[in-house]
Subunit: 151 residues, 2 copies
Amino acid sequence: MIELDPIAVVRNSRKTVEDDQWGEVVSTIELLPPLTAEALTGIESFSHLEVIYYFDRVQTAKIETGARHPRNNPDWPLVGILAQRGKNRPNQIGVTICKLLEHNGSSITVKGLDAVDGTPILDIKPVMKEFLPKEDIRQPDWVGELMQNYW
Amino acid sequence: MIELDPIAVVRNSRKTVEDDQWGEVVSTIELLPPLTAEALTGIESFSHLEVIYYFDRVQTAKIETGARHPRNNPDWPLVGILAQRGKNRPNQIGVTICKLLEHNGSSITVKGLDAVDGTPILDIKPVMKEFLPKEDIRQPDWVGELMQNYW
């Protein structure tokens, strides 16, 4: 068992859990004690951040540990929960790259974070070119269909 | 407080914690109970995976919550722990994109995972083009220097 404490919290206009239209959402991420502004020193020299957060609104009983159709849509194949990015997953962790708009002391403002208001943040990392895929990405067709209105 | 259970474990030839030369490392990731092969169904239709893991070898006393020079190298600027990707960070979470080489039942083989043998895995997600940055990445010069021998 691994115990984690949220390091920050999301503040934005999205109060309910919905699947799509996240691209234009602007969120403020506020550090929580014991972290202070010092932990964000120099973060504005990066254009993008990777935000690791906890899907705290997911009901434990709904967590999928096997396979399911993405979004429970039977038009898409039955795939393992680790072969999709849905929120009802073991450990309820979300990871999203978003654009850094502003850094102000112990808070940052980002665009395109797909997390609702109040979501606990577990970690924030700067996006470095060297950590992006070095080869072309191959993915199945259902992904493009599912992502059509996501951003 | 958030409690997580590892979903899988890393097996590879890297027994000691060292900073560089991770690019050619081949690792097997073996699911742990209660997860079974079902959770990986269809994962081979993706070329790359994002692996979220726990830096379990980090000593709690060495976790940085403020700012430090990356790798404690004074040639690089003093930056916040959330503006770098070092392992001695709050919540000890690592996130790395690696190449999927093989899927075999409840295990997968990947290339370029920067985690030592025995590292607990918290989540595995498929890399989707739509989750990569939409704009060019901007980053400070010290990153290129630090990453020179990383892969």
